[in-house]
Point group: C2
Chain length 303, copies 2
């Protein structure tokens, strides 16, 4: 039930209408592995600079995340600065400093090649492909990507997608990748590129999942306080893949359960900056919110 | 189980990326009553001009809609002209000719005052209040409104809302009415204005319903062909209220079922211009799509 994630570990500076933080712990690999750690063992492959504090490393270790793949390189850690307006669905990037991430070449430590579940967070599709060459026979490979790669490295991305079982992207990315405005048609085009399953993230509208034969919709949990959406997509993916890896079951019904667990983890994460909410979260709160999701979507006939 | 609707009957001219039509049958009262007629008897109160053709009247009568309240006034029928881009969520109004609708004063024919279910479509809130003064003791009063009344006739609207059980508006209108960006907070503010239930329409993202004690989300049916969204909201309301009136059951579980039936009717209506799709729809297709909604939202554990 090993789950491997390759992604970024970063310092985020974020301003929302509700406050702001400077250089807090962030990055796709961080959000993903923390969320997944509620369900399963996680191996994190990423790079940080010499300025990465022990405090953060201790936090990740406290989540029992395997950090043998977290390399420290000469230089500074990746930094991202962004802000959100009242429409919390879209971040405005103010500054990106790749730093040590610029020359990141994922190398799996010994033993990681046996990973059964693999998540390739949003990095250069060529690096995603490099990772796939290093794993033996995963049961499930999932990946994320973004507009930058869809337009800038389309051929490399298409090559990676041919080796990916499940793609997790947002609605605009789905339309862009397919070149099609209608989401159902766009999804069908994306499924023809390789992935058997497409999970489309829709922010406050939840998630819609497409396979060849079925469609599944899950709402986002309605929140009175969305404090900071940073990392919501990666936290979703972490909860989703963590649950799948822990249950070792890729039946459609179980993937749907995993979608709900992913949505739950994302819903907690946006309640505070950085990973602050996940730091105090316990699994009983996760299960309580699962029951809330049932009530939220239930339309069975009256007893 | 009588259902009364007061709204507009209009000629619509619509252009979408997929085609265009000139002066076809439209109007909130038309879409509502046609959708509702699949479930229950409907009484339509509206006004048309002398140019309203018998053909349309015969169609409405063929749906067994009671047309005693459809008055013919000297002059021309209400006309609306609009277009949609590839983002089919928002119409751009090109022209509005109120014509006979400008001096519309709803007067209920004898017998209509006993209506048990009342829907006040999107008209001047003062006229909505006039209608409420003419009905005796409805079991459920629902209404729609729009940005024009929220900003332009706020006091009259707030007065009407104090007499309304259920409000059906879209997401932007909810935020505008409450003056609050967060939808959950906005919904709570709207519930404090009078309605016990708030049904928020979210276009292709479905519907979210708020009561004091519960939230319910329903997806929109994922369609490969959204041909013309005109009337989707009124068709939703018609299916919703029609189902409620036919079942005479205002329990939360039954209102949720009604939301699904409303969503189904709207999903059919957008598949073609005007009421063309509803004209060929039969109730078995409605029930088949209900089964599809179950599959779409189901995340029960594997058998």
């Amino acid at each position: 039930m090993s789950l491997l994630v390759v992604g970024s570990v970063a310092f985020d500076s974020v301003a929302t209408p509700f406050g702001q933080v400077e250089e807090v712990l962030g990055g796709s690999g961080t959000f993903f592995s923390t969320a997944a750690s509620f369900f399963t063992d996680v191996q994190l492959v990423a790079v940080v600079g010499e300025d990465f504090p022990d405090e953060h490393r201790r936090f990740l270790a406290s989540r029992e995340i395997d950090l043998r793949g977290l390399r420290t390189a000469p230089g500074r850690t990746f930094r991202w600065k962004g802000r959100y307006g009242f429409d919390l669905n879209e971040a405005q990037t103010l500054d990106t400093q790749l730093n040590v991430f610029e020359t990141f070449r994922p190398e799996l430590p010994a033993g990681y090649e046996d990973a059964e579940y693999v998540f390739l967070a949003n990095i250069d599709p060529e690096l995603q492909m490099d990772v796939l060459k290093q794993v033996k026979r995963p049961r499930l490979v999932a990946c994320d990507t973004m507009n930058f790669w869809i337009s800038g490295k389309r051929e490399a991305l298409l090559k990676t997608l041919r080796h990916v079982d499940l793609l997790v992207i947002n609605e605009g990315e789905t339309r862009q990748l397919a070149g099609e405005a209608n989401l159902v048609k766009a999804a069908r085009a994306v499924l023809a590129m390789g992935p058997k399953t497409l999970v489309v993230k829709r922010g406050e509208y939840g998630v819609i999942m497409f396979t060849e034969h079925s469609i599944f919709t899950a709402p986002a949990y309605p929140l009175e306080t969305v404090f900071d959406p940073t990392g919501a997509g990666d936290t979703f993916a972490g909860g989703f893949m963590g649950y799948l890896a822990s249950t070792r079951n890729l039946a459609d019904a179980n993937i749907r359960q995993a979608i709900i667990f992913g949505s739950i983890m994302a819903s907690f994460n946006v309640e505070d900056f950085s990973l602050n909410r996940l730091k105090t979260l316990d699994i009983e709160q996760v299960h309580e919110r699962f029951r809330q999701f049932r009530l939220l979507t239930d339309f069975s006939p009256e007893d």
